[in-house]
């Protein structure tokens, strides 16, 4: 009896799946309505990474009347195959965005399983004819924030709360330190790790520990506003991360980094709709979009590059620059921002010769760090104080 029931269930499942595979076998025809699925790693209310991706999704929905989207949030890394299957088999999606590095294995497997569908994997490095990669990176902005932080610190100790010691954070912290020490050679960046993307309690205690150690300006990579709040509470300066965090600290949030994933998403979807991107030509499509592409923005709030409360102070601090001569920090920040944001980028923070904190030459003279050098970066520049897992 029991075996019979099991057999019937299996049979039903087989029929359903084969029907589903018939339905999903057809490839997207350019110009037709397009259905897209987003796999999110966090809750869309995190006011950080996933929030920013979802804002971009909504902007795309507004921009393209032919677009339909579905999403699943808080997907644990490792569960993405189930969600991708659901998107393609049940929802009939032609395009799937997987928005976390940890979804890499499931996305690659799905790309091979569904050769007619299109996949975009965020922050990864593996591609397929139907799978591209993309990233909107902040390292230039961390450098610019560093210039400001180095000029405004009184204790010469900058605090940095990091989520995980991975290349993304290592290059951000290094860029921040390079900026700070360009205007203030005595500045140090003190780093504390919390080993979580979303844990405001840990972020708060890490910031408190940095304050107890004498840090007076704060930057961070973690998905809540906890660090900005702690700093504000103590009357200390901070830089927002990922979303506009001015609202959490109007008096003390000096600047920050804001993501604009819509720049990338609009471009992708438009090119799929017009037939430029298909399930067969994405092998070499890798978006590494920065200031120039407007995928990221520097600011405490949207449209507010530097909190006006600090403009005069920064205009009054002068440094000697080998190229510009005597220049105010404010002008230096704005000049560097233009150099990186205007078409034809003429400046990069990771400009050689660059040594790591152990004294090893990492970037040769007259060279800049390559994109692959950045995405695999494990070393720390001089001026960074604190543990650094995997330091070569």
């Amino acid at each position: 009896m029991r075996t019979k029931v099991v057999l019937v269930i299996l049979l039903v499942m087989a029929v359903v799946f084969s029907l589903a595979s018939v339905a999903m076998a057809k490839e997207y025809v350019p110009g037709e309505p397009l259905k897209v699925g987003f796999v999110y790693v966090g809750p869309i209310s995190d006011y950080g990474w996933t929030f920013a991706h979802d804002e971009a999704r909504l902007i795309c929905m507004d921009a393209f009347p032919w677009l339909e989207t579905v999403y699943v949030e808080s997907v644990p890394e490792g569960d993405e195959p189930l969600v991708i299957d659901k998107f393609i088999q049940e929802e009939g999606c032609h395009v799937v965005f997987t928005t976390s590095f940890g979804f890499i294995d499931g996305t690659v497997a799905a790309a091979q399983r569904y050769p007619d569908k299109i996949f975009f994997h965020c922050s990864g490095y593996l591609r397929n004819p139907n799978m591209a990669t993309y990233m909107a990176d902040f390292y230039q902005i961390y450098y610019l924030n560093g210039l400001i932080a180095g000029a405004l610190t009184k204790s010469n100790k900058l605090g940095y709360v990091g989520a995980f010691p991975i290349p993304e954070l290592k290059r951000h912290i290094s860029a921040f330190a390079i900026g700070a020490r360009e205007v203030n050679p005595d500045a140090e960046v003190h780093v504390r790790w919390i080993n979580s993307w979303v844990d405001p309690v840990a972020a708060k205690e890490a910031a408190e520990a940095l304050i107890a150690d004498g840090c007076d300006v704060f930057a961070f990579t973690e998905d809540t506003a906890a660090v900005v709040q702690v700093a504000a509470d103590k009357g200390l300066l901070s830089f927002g991360h990922y979303s506009p965090m001015y609202v959490f600290s109007p008096e003390y949030c000096v600047s920050g980094q804001i993501a604009h994933w819509e720049a990338i998403y609009l471009d992708f979807l438009e090119k799929i709709y017009s037939g430029k991107y298909t399930a067969h030509n994405l092998q070499d499509v890798d978006y590494w979009w920065l200031l120039q592409e407007k995928a990221v923005e520097m600011g405490a709030d949207k449209g507010m590059i530097i909190n006006p409360a600090y403009e005069d102070q920064l205009k009054g601090i002068y440094v000697d620059d080998p190229v510009f001569g005597k220049i105010s920090v404010y002008d230096l920040v704005m000049t560097r921002l233009r150099q990186m944001a205007d078409p034809g980028v003429t400046f990069d923070p990771f400009q050689g010769p660059l040594y790591d904190r152990k004294g090893i030459l990492r970037v040769l003279e007259d060279c800049t760090l390559s994109v692959s050098g950045m995405t695999t970066m494990q070393w720390a520049v001089e001026g960074i104080v604190g543990p650094w897992a995997g330091e070569p």
Partner: protein
């Protein structure tokens, strides 16, 4: 930097971070003393955090937020009480369900509340005069809020009730031997309900403390496992409110130091430290002789049915 400033900073953070742990632990001690294991602390805490934040944000009153957080925590614990006391369901399963429900429900309800700063938070107070006392002043009387003090006051109060009053004897007897208590005319079910709800109220208040006073902001899943630490601390405390205070503050001190000591010790090791401490204590406590001596409630996790005890 001198050792004195080190100790001051550590102890001051210990009070701030230890307060929600202590609140939750005190509540769980009462629930377990009556014989009901409630693994739903995390769920009650996060519901309290959400309810507290949304109330404080809407009304502009942080204190109202804390009160609502406590009430919501208490109401939420009724689900566990109903399932495990009235329906006599497995306490472990029912408690776990409460945690999952709380995390999920607060996530859905709290959708649009992320990324909002609380305009008015529970004020931090510096007691004039007392804060000038060398050493103790900056630890106890500078930059802490009223909830920290109220929580400390709860410890002797709850200890006294448990060990020195008739109510305390009733609670403990229900947790030790409900059949005997029943034969003496004590309403076992009612006592257990009451204790579970007290646990819920304190867990909810702990959540409210996090989102209204400690941070103050709302993030989905912001309790990040604190409810589980509470359960470990309850056992560490041998179900005694005074030891609960020791455990909560010891854990909090280790937690603070896990960030402070990072330049010298690997962060991975440090992050494991408070938890290793909890496991170590659990192992120690679960050794039979000690357990007998210190007295885990004998009827813990056992539903009571008249005539079967």
């Amino acid at each position: 930097m001198g050792w004195e400033t080190w100790i001051i900073a550590t102890l001051s953070r210990t009070l701030a971070y230890g307060t929600p742990l202590l609140l939750g632990t005190l509540g769980e001690i009462y629930a377990e003393r009556s014989g009901v294991l409630n693994l739903g602390v995390e769920g009650m805490m996060i519901m309290g955090a959400y309810a507290g934040f949304s109330t404080a944000y809407t009304t502009g009153s942080p204190w109202l937020g804390i009160i609502v957080a406590a009430l919501v925590g208490g109401a939420f614990s009724l689900i566990h009480a109903f399932a495990s006391i009235t329906l006599k369901a497995n306490q472990v399963v029912s408690g776990l369900a409460l945690t999952m429900l709380g995390l999920g429900l607060s996530g859905v309800l709290g959708r649009s509340w992320g990324g909002k700063p609380l305009p008015v938070s529970v004020p931090e107070i510096t007691v004039p005069g007392l804060s000038k006392i060398p050493f103790l002043g900056p630890i106890l009387f500078e930059g802490q809020n009223l909830l920290v003090y109220l929580t400390i006051l709860l410890v002797p109060l709850l200890w006294y009730i448990l060990y020195r009053t008739r109510i305390g004897i009733i609670i403990r007897s229900v947790g030790e031997n409900p059949a005997t208590a029943d034969s003496l005319g004590i309403n076992v079910g009612r006592v257990r309900y009451l204790c579970v709800v007290v646990g819920g109220i304190l867990a909810g208040a702990a959540g409210g403390y996090l989102s209204v006073a400690y941070r103050p902001a709302w993030t989905e899943g912001m309790t990040a496992g604190m409810g589980w630490i509470v359960i470990a601390l309850t056992i560490f405390a041998f179900w005694n409110p005074a030891l609960g205070m020791v455990g909560a503050y010891l854990f909090a001190a280790l937690y603070h130091l896990s960030f402070r000591l990072q330049p010298w010790v690997s962060p991975e090791l440090l992050h494991a430290m408070p938890y290793a401490f909890a496991i170590f204590v659990l192992v120690l406590v679960s050794r039979g002789t000690l357990q007998k001596k210190m007295g885990a409630p004998a009827a813990l996790t056992l539903p009571y049915t008249r005539g079967e005890g």
